[in-house]
Symmetry: C2
Subunit: 85 residues, 2 copies
């Protein structure tokens, strides 16, 4: 059976402040990694869906309804076909 392995990346929009990223940046500087900047933290969601005709449309719907808050977040996804036994 062929299934789809989906990887969704949810990131804050460029214009939105990322305090978690700022905190991680400060911590990295404190650890001596002074060259690091522009740290942004997002979510990485992996799941498997049974292969179907509406695959891509369904994935977009899942992202917009649940996985990403499209007011402040952007998302992108990658789909990989996997043969599952």
């Amino acid at each position: 059976m062929v299934v789809k392995k989906v990887k969704v990346f949810v990131t804050l929009k460029e214009s939105v402040l990322d305090p978690q990223g700022k905190a991680v940046e400060a911590a990295l500087h404190q650890l001596g990694f002074s060259g690091v900047k522009d740290v942004r933290i997002g979510k990485y969601i992996e799941f498997v869906v049974a292969d179907g005709a509406d695959g891509e449309r369904d994935i977009r719907a899942m992202c917009e309804k649940l996985l990403a808050n499209t007011v402040i977040e952007d998302y992108r996804y990658e789909v990989e076909e996997v043969v599952s036994l």
Copy 2:
């Protein structure tokens, strides 16, 4: 100036339970996306580093010391060279 754009993906190890993923899976089922399974939630971290000789070694050190908890999490990263003006 050439800088490196680094993307780090932190995921729970296969053997570790992911209750957040289970909750998202249940929510997706409730929204009617019944074909979804094996939802796993991880972190996606982006940052920029000034290009240096020890780039890769530094990135691994950052992941092991701060970004990932290697007891329960795996990480992988991608490095992209970007010309910044």
